[in-house]
Structures are given as structure tokens and as C-alpha cells.
Amino acid sequence: MLSDTYEASVPGLYVIGALAGYPLIKHCLNQGFEVIEYILGNEIAPADEPLIQAKLDRAGVRMSVSELVTATQQRVAVFQSLTALQIREFLLHSNIRAPAVGDVVVRRGEYSNSLFAILDGEVGIQIDPEDPSWIVKLGLGEFFGEMALISGRRRSNTIVATAASLLLEVDRNVMIRLVRSDLRVRQAIDNAAVARQITTFFGAHVPANAMTKVLAATRVVEFKPNESLIDEGALGDDTVYLIRKGSVTVSVRLGGRDVVLAYLPAGNYVGEMALLTRRPRTATVRAVVATETVRIDGAAFRMMLDHDARLRHSVEAKLGQRLSELEEVRQHAQESSAIEFFMRHGLGEASDVLVIDESLCVRCDNCEKACAETHHGVSRLNREAGPTFDALHLPTSCRHCEDPHCMKECPPDAIHRAPNGEVWIDDQCIGCGNCERNCPYGVIQMAAQPPEKPGLLKWLLFGMGAGPGEDKSPEGLAQRTGSKHAVKCDMCKDIAGGPACVRACPTGAAIRIDSINIMETIRRAHP
């Protein structure tokens, strides 16, 4: 454990850089300078001081950096175990927000970028989008935003400030790193998340004492890809799983082989069928990617149903709907293979993906050309490459994963997730190629900048330039300048009207789907 001046528990021994947990060379340089000043007895401000102070000033908060560090450490229980140095490090990647009464802090449906801690004031979670007055309040020291942070999915509730507040908005990447490295932080967040997930999903009307019992019978269980949560035919197993991260498939054995009946992304629950019918498990539920679930004991779940007639009604209604859907799929073996195909190619962790109907695609490559023309001359999709099932084709193009593989080892933290879910790379990219190597779908490429092209009319009328689209000819490649940087689909997040590939498709073959409408797309392809 290091002191605020990088001094180890052995007096006079100072630790900086990678050994102290700071991998970047700039850390090392700054810290080395600071340590020498400390040894000389000069109480200089750390290099990050003015940066953090600027954040405070920008938010209009009258507070010094050291006051902020102390407040974070003392008021937020989750961060108590961190040293001042660690807190400074993540403050550097955080925002300070000071919303007034009634200001919206996060909006339902947006993708998560951050976790919030309340340093002062109070916020309210709007439980029911139909009824904004139904609010659950959170006060000093509590945190929120962890549900979307864990699942990588959209925010499940809108949260407004119910008093003038001081909030710390911690960047998603920093938080994920912290959760992975510090067991205590992880446990604190996990416990709070489980309680909130159960409450928002099932327990809005369950009395508090019953809820305490339910939570006692609940825990987080993780599954590896392909591992089964539920086995078909199992007797006496009536556990219910709430999927909070990843996704699962539901399959049955028919004629000696597994037939996938459905795909369920995070935010769904499974296992209620055996619970309600008190029969053996009727299907196998298997994790598609690394999946985290909240496991609720059967008896506890039944207790919730007994306490809340509305919940029982909605669970039963969902069961009825599921049974009829499963019956429908059972009759279309084709659909089953299509689901398996999509899962195999990463749609189990995708939040938005380009799908081409090859029975409509005339191979004009206008999608690729549109991509290049709207993204500095380099196309971020390869229409022809990529797998095809029946007539559904998945071109090589970003799936905007819920827990993006590319983000994991980006030294300058240049990869971000926008509120609409777009995973994009900013101009901090140093061209190291980590993201390209980490992407399991091969959708990131390292490319230099092509030169500016003559306008469209000059090409149409006078044949100047190579014409629309990426110029991949040897002459074109030779004209590119600068060092190579990582480029990938940003879902045209800065272009009005949405993704250029979809807009530029002349025949209606290219569409974008999210995990919610995979099943719908498959059904349309196999009517």
C-alpha cells in the first residue's frame, strides 16, 4: 500500500510506474518528478491536480481536489478501500456533475458509459416509465448505473436529481478495470446490483421483509460459453435465473439432436416454467457467451409470486406466450439452425449488427462505397466477406458487442461507447493494433489516411479521381499518408439519418438489427 507520496510501507522506499499499477510512460515520468520533489521536501501539487481541478470548476463546484478525494473516500462506502492515489487516478477519468432539482441524470434506453456515486444530495429512480411520480430515492454515499454497466445494455430506468446534488460519474472502462482488480469493490457493487435487479424486475410490490428473505436466497452465478444453466429433463430443479449479462439459448432434443428454440439476451429470466408447472425441465438453457445470472431459489421466487398477484399474472402471461412461441419454432427446424448460426457468429453478444438479405442484394457494393465516402475514404465493412446462412449474410462489420473485446487493452483509452451503444475510436489512437487483435470477428483494420478526392460531379462529368468508394488499387494505396490507425464502424453516430450502409442500399437488402429483433428477422426470412 503506497502513501499519497508514493512511499511504500518501508520508509524511504518509493514505488512508481508499472510496479505501482500505472502502466503508461507518462505516469512514470510525472511520478518520478513528483517523488524527487517530495524527497527534497517540496510539497508540490501532483501533475493531475490542475486537470481534476478543471473538472470541478467546469461543474461549478467550489471544492479543492484534496477535499474531493477525501469526500469520495469517506462518503462512498464502495471506494473506502481505495488509496488516495487510486482515487485520483479514476477521478482523472471521471466527470463531476452538479445537477439541479429535476435535472435528468441518466435516461432510460441509453447505453451506459459510467457509474455514478452520490457525494452530496439525492436522486430518484423512476421505476415505471408510464408513471414518473413513482420514484425510489437514493442518497448520500449510494451509487447507481451499475445494472447497465454489468450487462453492457441500455439503461433500464431514468434517474432525476431530487435535490441539488454532487455526483461523481466514473468512466465505464475505469470502473470495469477497478471491479476486475479489487474484490471488495466488486462485491459491494454486486450485492447492491442484485438487490436492485430483483427489486426492479420482480419485487416492486413485494413487502420489504419478504424481499429480505428473497435476497438471502439469491446469488450471482456465472456460466462459461456453452455451459448449461438448466438441463432438459432434470427433476426437482425449480431455480429461476435472471440473466444480467451475456445471453442464452433455449434448446430441446428432437430426433437425437439439439434444436435451438429461442435466444434470450440479458434482461430476461428463465426457469419459471418448471416452477409454475412443477414438472421436470422441458428444455436446456445454455450460455452463448460468458454469462452472469442472478440465481433465485425456487421457494423464494414462489414467495414473491404469493405476495404479489400482479407479478404472478405477468409471469404466467409470459409463460403462455413463451409456450406458444416454442411450439411455433418446434415446427420450423430451419429457424432453429438460423438461431444457431447467428449465435455462432457473435450475435449473442452483439448490440447492433448489419445483416444483408442476399435474396435482395444485387452485390452493387453501394453499402461499402457509402461507408468509405462518409468515413474519410476507408470502408469499415467488407460486404462479400463474412458467413452466410440460407440467404442471411453477416458481412464483416462491427457487432458493437455488449462487453466490447476491443476496449480491453487500449493503452490510450481511445475506444468508447456512445449513449446509443456505438463503440467508436477517437483520434487518441496510437495505432498499436491491440483492438484489431482482440476483435474475434475481424472487423477492425489498421489504415492510413487516403488523400482528398475530387468532387462527385468532377468524376461523373470528367472522370477525375477513382470515383466513389475506397480506392484499394496499388496506386491508391500508395497515395495514403500518415501512420496507420485503427478504424472500425462507428454506426455513423455523427451522421444525421443513421447508418450510411443501410441508407445507401438501393434494394432494401441491408438492415441493422439488435439482439431484440434477431428472432423477428429470422422469422421473416423463413415465413
Partner: protein, 292 residues
């Protein structure tokens, strides 16, 4: 911060569904085109209930103006489909309108002529317009027919994968042919040296090539198949199977090229004739207003 783009969930319903340009938005543009046709017929019939009207009447000027504007708008599609930053909705909607209004133009322009045709620049413009529309219709037919055939023919492979497989089959063939007699080995060797794919426009469209060395090797082996010495029989069979696989792959590749060529070929008529039409249209209007 809300970004300008839209994700799948925020996109309009039509962006999340595969829908052919022909059926776009419940045939919205077909309905518009039928209205245009109906209006043209009404205008024509009111002016000349018994027919024989032409461009010189008020109905003729109306229909002619409408037709000329339609032609300009239809030609503008070629520019619009490439101005990627400015495609406001979906290009599929534009193509749907392009097809149906292009068909409607045939009625509008025919009524404009009143079937007063002759050997002049006016009729030339009309004939060129008919040719553009006819090539467009063949394009719609190709777009409906070939995409699915192409997918089926590919069987999940990309062109690069198919060509790569042919390359490795050639390597295997050269090895496998070593034990064969010299004449046969020569024939097999020749089949690995050139793989005839593509070629002239006509050959691309036709999809089969007369001088295919692989087909020749297969025919040679089959002709001599009954008199193979027992010691080379195994190598012989292996070469025959490899040739068969390669031959089938070559057929797939050529068929793929032919399908793609079919989908592209009509544009080589559609676009140049449309340009000629623009010139003829200008000459027609100029001569009517300034030289008549």
C-alpha cells in the same frame, strides 16, 4: 449527450426489416405511379375524347412538361445514389419511385405523342426513352432473379475461397499426376496451368468457356478410362476425383461471374441510352419552341 446517429432500436421500422424495393412501404410508389397514369389518361381523354391528340394541344403541353420533368428527375437518380452524405431516407425508397414512375413515364409520354410518330428527332427521343425503360425493366427482372441464384451457387463460399481452393487443387493434381503415363500427365499438367475464368463480356455473360483445359482433361481421362494399367489405377482414380472437384468449382466460379455480369450488363445500355435520351430530349424541346 445524444449523438446524431440512430441505432437499430431507434431506426424507423423500415430500417429494421428486410423489404424489397419493389414492395417498399406497401407499394406506396406503385400507387403514386398509378395515380400519375390515371391523371394522364383523364387529361388526354378530356382534351381528345376520340384520340389523335398530340404535343401541340394544351393537354399535349401538360403531358410533355410532366414527361420532361420526370425524365430529368429519373436521370438525377444516378447522381443521387452516389451522394452518400445526402441520402436522407433510404435509397430503396428512391429506387422504388424510380422504377414505378419510370414505368408510368411510358404512358405519359405515349399520350403526349398521340402516336404521331415519324422519322424525326421527336420520335427519336420517344424511341430512346422506350429503350431506356425496356432496359430498366430487364434490370428489375435481373435484380429479382439473380441474387438468390448467386447465393445458392456460392454455397457459403466467397470468391476468394473458391479461387484459393482451385489453387490448392492444382497443387494436389500436379502431385497426384506424377505416377501417370506421360501423355495423361501432360494433359493434367496443362489443366493446372491455365484456369479459364472471365474473359470478354460475352464470355462472362455466357458463363461457360469452350477451351476449358480441365474439361478437356476430364474428357481425356474418361475416354482412356477402360484401359488403365493396374499399377497406376489408384493414382488415376485420385486424379479423376480431383479433376471432378475442380471442374465443378470452375463451373461455380463461372456461373457466379455470369450472374454478376447479368446484374451489371443492363446498366451498360440503361445509362448510355439515358444520356442519349437527354440530348434528344433537348433537341426535341429546342426544335419545338425555337424552330417550329
Amino acid at each position: 449527450m445524444k449523438s446524431a446517429g440512430a441505432t437499430a432500436a431507434d431506426l424507423p421500422e423500415s430500417h429494421r426489416r428486410h423489404e424489397s424495393f419493389m414492395a417498399y412501404s406497401h407499394f406506396f410508389y406503385l400507387k403514386i405511379a398509378l395515380l400519375v397514369v390515371a391523371a394522364s389518361v383523364v387529361i388526354y381523354t378530356i382534351d381528345r375524347p376520340y384520340g389523335s391528340g398530340y404535343g401541340g394541344t394544351w393537354a399535349g403541353y401538360t403531358l410533355g412538361t410532366a414527361g420532361a420533368l420526370l425524365i430529368l428527375w429519373l436521370t438525377w437518380f444516378g447522381y443521387h445514389k452516389r451522394s452518400y452524405a445526402n441520402i436522407s431516407t433510404r435509397l430503396a425508397a428512391q429506387l422504388s419511385a424510380h422504377v414505378y414512375l419510370g414505368l408510368a413515364l411510358l404512358v405519359v409520354a405515349t399520350l403526349h405523342t398521340g402516336l404521331h410518330l415519324g422519322w424525326n428527332v421527336h420520335t427519336l427521343a420517344y424511341v430512346l426513352m422506350c429503350a431506356v425503360i425496356a432496359s430498366g425493366v430487364s434490370g428489375v427482372f435481373c435484380y429479382a432473379r439473380y441474387p438468390r441464384l448467386m447465393t445458392e451457387n456460392r454455397a457459403g463460399m466467397t470468391m476468394q475461397q473458391m479461387l484459393g481452393r482451385i489453387d490448392s487443387l492444382d497443387d494436389e493434381l500436379r502431385q497426384a499426376a506424377l505416377p501417370l503415363d506421360e501423355a495423361t500427365a501432360m494433359v493434367v499438367e496443362r489443366s493446372t496451368e491455365t484456369n479459364a475464368i472471365g474473359g470478354s463480356a460475352w464470355r462472362q455473360l455466357a458463363g461457360h468457356l469452350p477451351g476449358c483445359t480441365t474439361a478437356a482433361a476430364i474428357a481425356y481421362l474418361d475416354a482412356k478410362g477402360m484401359v488403365v494399367a493396374p499399377e497406376i489405377e489408384e493414382a488415376w482414380r485420385r486424379v479423376r476425383v480431383l479433376l471432378e472437384e475442380k471442374g465443378l468449382l470452375l463451373i461455380r466460379v463461372r456461373r457466379d461471374i455470369s450472374y454478376k455480369a447479368m446484374m451489371d450488363a443492363w446498366l451498360y445500355l440503361h445509362v448510355p441510352i439515358a444520356m442519349m435520351l437527354l440530348v434528344a430530349l433537348f433537341a426535341h424541346i429546342f426544335s419545338v419552341f425555337f424552330l417550329w
